[in-house]
Amino acid sequence: MRMSDLRDLYQEVILDHSRNPRNFRKSETANRTAVGYNPLCGDKMTLFITVENGIITDASFQGSGCAISTASASMMTESLKGKTEEEADEMFQQFQNMVTAPMDQEPETEALGKLRVFAGVREFPARVKCASLAWHTLEAAIHEDTEEPVSTE
């Protein structure tokens, strides 16, 4: 029954974060920002990151998007606080692997914690970009590569 696959994608925690996104605000203290854009569906978000002594002390976002991209951004901002930039990079790598790995592989997800709920996205190739938009935007923000909006295309 295919409905079970849909439930893999739209898990309760994902729906909850899409309805009530956490850290959905502008930040006055942010010293890194980047804009992410998915031209395919029009999803757009601005990410605000505060880095102090190499540690991410605050992360927030604003914008509009589908349930997957909103929940991904919401949960990402929650899980970033207290992480070093290197740890954030590692999380980006693992997240990217998790949502794009071939179905017969078990990618490393140790650094991801509750972000593992996005593993179901792998079965929906058209939606991988929705899940990874926030993460690509994060990479641009922490590496200050922000002159152009980050695009998933």
């Binding site: 295919r2 849909l6 739209y10 729906l15 395919l40 569906c41 029009g42 589908c66 349930a67 929705c130």
Partner: protein, 405 residues
């Protein structure tokens, strides 16, 4: 008599299963499915007639040339062009519009001239004009659209002025489904001394188009939305206009003679068709038109109009669903939003039910901005769709609601 069940049998792909469910194909504005006769014509061409055209003296090349030029003649007859010479083969609507923008525009536009388009244009009827504006200093002006999705005709009349050289407007909106009152608009443009290009990509699959009755100067459409192959399209142009235009690309087939000092161009339409064309595409499109001519087009159009009304009433009956585009005259497309659910999520869930729709901005970002929305979900129809297809769509939208609430 029009029996949709019999018609559906002509389209092999409609029998497919998707995610274990029978396919419900409601993405016809993106591309249509092809009848078996078109698929077989392409196969027959490659098995029995394949050769290059217009140059071989051998038997096979003559067969291929005849088949290709026959297709041109059938298309000319179908749209009531004055002659097959007025039918230029292109890659599709996009290339047809680019051809006019660059060939006619480069020769005729000067600084301060105006090009008039509308707020409901597809990017393909915006960007080529912006490009030629940047090269010539001409200005792009835009006819606004009402909240219900209709062009504001008073504004249109005000925008027409002595600097307006060409009006380029879509016949039917790919997002809103609006059928624009183009006969009247073309008449006003001509009274103003402006040319009129009609983007017919979304109209010709749903209605009979008579270019001489409409009196448009150019008419652009794509084969693949008209039940033919991808990669082939048509630019209709009035002969006198095409004749005075310069070629769009240079190469083989578009010349009469070439020396290093001087090249003499071929006649219309061949001077616009450089290089070996999409021969099988032209033949496939000719076959699609044959198919349409054998269909009871009048009955098919009534069937589609009824379907559109049925679909809209079903969607209106679902709590939280809002239709974007409520023009009095509509064809083909129903765009909608569902409260609290992004169109992209709607699309994914419908797909799991075998229902194929399009979600996104539909290459109409300025129109999305006009309505203050990032995207819509769009169900778009063809004559082979049935009421059952729309019932399945409505049921599947119920499942979207279940997941999100």
């Amino acid at each position: 008599m029009f029996d949709v069940e019999i018609v559906r049998n002509d389209f092999p792909l409609l029998k497919r299963m998707v995610h274990g469910k029978p396919l419900v194909y409601l993405d016809n504005a993106a591309t249509s499915q092809k009848p078996l006769s078109v698929i077989e014509a392409i196969e027959r061409y490659y098995t029995e007639e394949n050769a290059n055209i217009h140059r071989g003296v051998h038997w096979l090349s003559e067969r291929a040339t005849e088949a290709y030029e026959n297709a041109r003649a059938r298309i000319a007859r179908y749209i009531n062009a004055a002659s097959p010479q007025e039918v230029v083969f292109t890659r599709g609507t996009t290339e047809s519009i680019n051809l006019v923008a660059f060939s006619w525009g480069w020769k005729n536009l000067r600084e301060g001239d105006e090009i008039l388009i509308s707020a409901m244009e597809h990017h393909s009827n915006i960007v080529p004009w912006q490009m030629i504006c940047a090269r010539t200093g001409a200005k792009l002006r835009v006819i606004p659209v009402s909240d219900s999705g209709e062009l504001l005709l008073d504004e249109y009349r005000n925008l027409l002025n002595r600097k307006t050289r060409i009006v380029a407007v879509t016949h039917v909106s790919n997002v809103l489904g609006t059928v624009n009152p183009v006969s009247q608009m073309i008449q006003w443009a001509h009274e103003n001394g402006s040319l009129f290009l009609l983007d017919g990509a979304q109209s010709i699959p749903h209605m009979d188009v008579n270019v001489r009755d409409l009196d448009c100067d150019f008419f652009a459409f794509s084969g693949h939305k008209l039940f033919g192959p991808t990669g082939i399209g048509v630019l209709y142009g009035k002969f006198a206009l095409l004749d005075e235009m310069d070629p769009y690309q240079g190469g083989g087939d578009m010349i009469r003679s070439v020396t290093f000092e001087k090249t003499i161009y071929n006649s219309v339409p061949h001077k616009f068709e450089a290089g070996t064309p999409h021969i099988s595409g032209g033949i496939g499109l000719g076959e699609a038109i044959d198919y349409l001519e054998k269909l009871n087009r009048h009955a098919a159009e009534i069937h589609e109009t009824n379907l559109l009304h049925y679909g809209e009433s079903l969607l209106r009956g679902i709590p939280g669903v809002r239709i974007i585009g409520n023009a009095k005259e509509k064809a083909g497309a129903i765009s909608f939003l569902m409260d609290g659910v992004h169109p992209h999520d709607v699309g994914t869930i419908l797909d799991q039910e075998g229902v194929a729709i399009r979600t996104g901005h539909h290459c109409c970002q300025p129109l999305m901005e006009r309505f203050g929305i990032p995207a819509t979900a769009r169900a778009s129809l063809a004559f082979y769709n049935s009421r059952e297809d729309l019932d399945t769509l409505a049921e599947a939208l119920g499942k979207v609601r279940n997941i999100f609430h």
